[in-house]
Structures are given as C-alpha cells and as structure tokens.
C-alpha cells in the first residue's frame, strides 16, 4: 500500500536529517535553478524557458560553501536529469549530498557505513536489514571494499582499461559486475575509478590514472557516489572543456561553464563529497524493486 511507503519515506528522510544534525553538519539549501551545472558527458540537464537549468546535483553550490569556509555540510534536495527513467531512475529525484573539509574519500566510506546502520536501526528496528530483489542486505555486517580494477577481473574476467577502450565499460559493469555485487550479504564499496570516469575527483597522488572515487552498492543497487574533490581550477576547467568536447561529438548541447565555481575552487580546502539517492535508499528500506513504489506520483501519473 502506497501510504505505508510514503510513511517510510518520511521516516528515512527524518533519520538521515537527524544523523547529520547529531554530527554537527550544517543543513543548507542552495538554489535549484542555476545558470550552469558541472558539464558532464553523460548527464543532460533540464532547461527552463530561460537559459537557466535545474540542478543535476547541488555540488557546484555546496563546494562554493566549502570555499567560503564551511566545514561540514549536507543537503537533501531535488535534482533533475533529462531523459532518465527506469525502474531505478526518475528524471526528477531526491538527492542527499554531504561534504567535509579536510577529509578524503576514505572518511566518506566510514560515514556511509554509519549512516546506513543508523537508518536501518531507526526505520527497520526489527530486521535491521535492507531488501532488494529478494535479497537481504545487512549494513551492520562487515562491508567489502573492492577496487574497480579488481571487480572487473574478478566478476567479469576482463581488464577495465581494455573495456574502456572498447566502449564496453557500462555493459560489463551492469551485466556482470553489478549482478555479482548482489551476492554480498553486506553493502559493497567499489573504489579507485579510472580517472576518466571521475571528472570532478582528485586523482591518486601515487597513480594519476586512478581517481579517489568510490561507489556504494547495496544488493547490487548503486546507492551513492563519493570522491575526494579536485580543487585545482585549471585542471577542473580543462576537464569541463573535455566533457563539452565529448558532448559535442555525441550530438549533445555544449553546456556553459560554472565560472563563479571555478573562480572560488582555488581556495577550497582539501575536501570530500558524496551524493546518495534518497529514493533508492527508501526502496532498499522498503524492500521494493521499483522506484515507482516509493514516490507520491510518477511522471506518468501526472
């Protein structure tokens, strides 16, 4: 019954909010309608009748707040990505993002573990587990951390660099790696992504081909994406221009650059930030397989 799902949704959001309030994070609201998102090759913003866009993520504004001296921030906000609709996607969805100054992606992995354990404790006090596609996932059991390279060789019997060269990365990830991650009884973290798959992340100091990026999977469902933030404005501008060039080749609109963000990025302290899909977190808490079941209305119902 949908009213149960909506109650659970409200509980999950409240638990997430309480978690960050208890840890002294500042809850912020940044504008949803903005002149420029971070241009990414495979993310298409929703444009309004003016030239402004709806945010695809609050990251641009959140990082400007880090540059302004704020230490620990979180936001639960609506985001829009054009053309994304499926059993795990809505074009308009709810995102949780949190950022921490003087931290790296390792700290965020620990935060994620604590957050998910907190959510099940509040919202699933009996089972203390998540559910997805008939699988039970216990966030209180030890989490496995696997590098992306290892996941491709272990579950796909392939080299990730080779897959990238041949344009097979997404295919192998979604048809072999993610289904294998569904076999774990606890959440799994994939980390150290090829640098080309992390346009806003810092590369590893000891290996420039890898970025300090990770993804959190629960029952094979991708739940969150976090990284150590790149804070070199020249390098960031170069990557944005590269993304725009790739967009142009693929026939997508070239996007304006977020200039004030680039301007202040040079004074942003070493930080880490992460985005977590609230709708998917509610799906896992409710134990349902479709995002349609945990929103008040789907676009098709409007």
């Amino acid at each position: 019954m949908k009213s149960d799902a909506l109650w659970l949704r409200a509980q999950v959001i409240k638990a997430v909010r309480d978690f960050f309030w208890e840890r002294g994070f500042l809850e912020v609201e940044t504008p949803l309608l903005i002149p420029a998102n971070a241009p990414e090759e495979h993310i298409n913003p929703v444009f309004t009748t003016s030239s402004w866009q709806l945010q695809t993520s609050p990251e641009i504004c959140m990082k400007r707040l880090l540059s302004a001296g704020h230490q620990s921030l979180f936001q639960i906000s609506r985001c829009w990505r054009s053309g994304e609709r499926g059993s795990r996607h809505l074009s308009e969805f709810t995102m949780l993002e949190w950022y921490r100054a003087d931290c790296n992606y390792q700290n965020l992995m620990t935060d994620s573990e604590e957050l998910l354990q907190y959510v099940v404790e509040i919202c699933r006090p009996d089972s203390r587990c998540f559910g997805y596609k008939d699988i039970t996932i216990n966030p209180c059991a030890p989490w496995e951390r696997i590098t992306v390279q290892e996941s491709f060789s272990r579950f796909g019997n392939r080299d990730v660099w080779d897959c990238l060269r041949k344009g097979l990365y997404e295919e192998i990830l979604t048809s072999l790696v993610e289904p294998a991650l569904a076999g774990f009884a606890a959440p799994v973290i994939l980390y150290d992504y090829p640098a080309e798959l992390a346009a806003l992340a810092r590369v590893k100091p000891e290996n420039k081909n890898l970025a300090e990026r990770f993804e959190l999977y629960v029952g094979g469902l991708e739940l969150a994406n976090g990284f150590s933030e790149l804070n070199d404005p020249l390098e960031q501008r170069r990557r944005f221009e590269e993304a725009n060039a790739a967009r142009s080749c693929a026939g997508h609109a070239v996007l304006p650059l977020p200039e004030p963000f680039l301007y202040t990025l040079g004074v942003m302290p070493d930080s880490a930030g992460i985005a977590l899909g609230i709708d998917r977190l509610v799906m896992l808490t409710a134990g349902v397989d479709s995002i349609d079941e945990i929103v008040a209305f789907t676009p098709e119902e409007l």
Partner: protein
C-alpha cells in the same frame, strides 16, 4: 521513427524487416556512465524472443500494424483466405501463423486479423464460437464407469472433450481461449 527515449513496453518496431513487440524494457545508467536501454522483444511473425541493448542516439522504424475485422472465406491446403467486408480485399494466412485459431475457423466467422503491410501475421477470434458436433459416441444410459466426459469431433475437424449427454448434430459453445467445451446451445 522512434528513438531510444520512446522505448517502452508495448512499443512495436521493425528490426531486420520483421515487426517486433517490446515486452520488457529497462533503463540502465551506471553512475556518471553512458545510458543503456535494455529490451526484450518478441518477433510478431514467428514468436521468437530477442534481447537487445541500445545506447542513446539509436533510432528505430515504427511497425505499422493494423487490425481489421475480416470474414473467413475458405481453406485451400495450408492457406486460409479472409475478406474485408467493407473493401472486399482478401488476404491469405498460412496455417502456421493461425496457431490454434484454425480449430475454430468456420466459413463466415468474423475475426480480427492483424496486418503488417500486406501480410496477415495474427488473428484474434471471438472468445466463444458455436460449432456443430459431427461425431461422438452415444452415451449409454446407466453407464457407471464414472467417465464425466467423452471425445467429440466438431465440423472443423477439431476434437475436444464434451459431457456425456452431448449428441451428434448438437451445437456447442467452445471457449477459443482455452479450447474447451463451454456449454450446449439450446433449441
């Protein structure tokens, strides 16, 4: 023309010249990666299943399928001829494409014929048809063997189980969805 953004369950498209019905669809997009559109499709002519994954930018020809009410005229070998009562246009369907429908086709029966261009690729019959029993054994009164049905042949040559009291020459109603006896036409 359709693009990948139009893909959804129930969409009919043309692949390699054949019409396909999309029977399952999912949008897959790993974080920061390219979107994949996973489909499962059924070939509407031979029923075979196909799994295909598409990427953004790909497009498809739409399959224009038309359903028309037509009357069954006659059978010649494996070929069944139907006619549109309005236009007098005739189409021929092969026995293979008819499937179980061939068991109930009696001259002048009206059915919905699915056309792909000029080609008839499917048929949907009324849920119930009346057919006359042409052969069945006499029910011996007082038979206590416990059989509650017996075989009967109807005028199309189809054989089914009927209750023991049905006699040769009687008109019976058959459910075309299950192929089973439904009731007896009284009078």
């Amino acid at each position: 023309m359709y693009t990948v953004a139009d893909l959804k369950k129930g969409l009919k498209i043309i692949l390699d010249g054949d019409p396909y019905l999309v029977i399952a669809f999912d949008f897959v997009k790993p974080g920061k990666g390219q979107a994949l559109y996973r489909t499962k499709m059924r070939n509407m002519i031979n029923g075979s299943l196909l799994d295909r994954t598409y990427r953004s930018g790909e497009s498809f020809e739409s399959a224009n399928l038309e359903e028309r009410t037509m009357e069954f005229l006659y059978k010649e070998g494996d070929h069944y001829t139907f006619m549109d009562q309005q236009t007098y246009e005739q189409v021929v369907m092969e026995e293979e494409a008819l499937g179980d429908a061939k068991n109930y086709l009696l001259e002048n029966l009206k059915a919905e014929v699915m056309l792909f261009g000029e080609k008839a690729i499917g048929i949907s019959l009324p849920n119930f048809v009346n057919l006359r029993v042409t052969a069945t054994e006499q029910w011996a009164k007082g038979d206590t063997s416990g059989n509650d049905s017996k075989p009967a042949t109807v005028e199309t040559g189809y054989v089914l189980r009927v209750p023991p009291f049905i006699e040769e020459g009687e008109l019976i109603v058959i459910d075309t969805r299950t192929g089973e006896y439904s009731t007896r036409v009284k009078g």
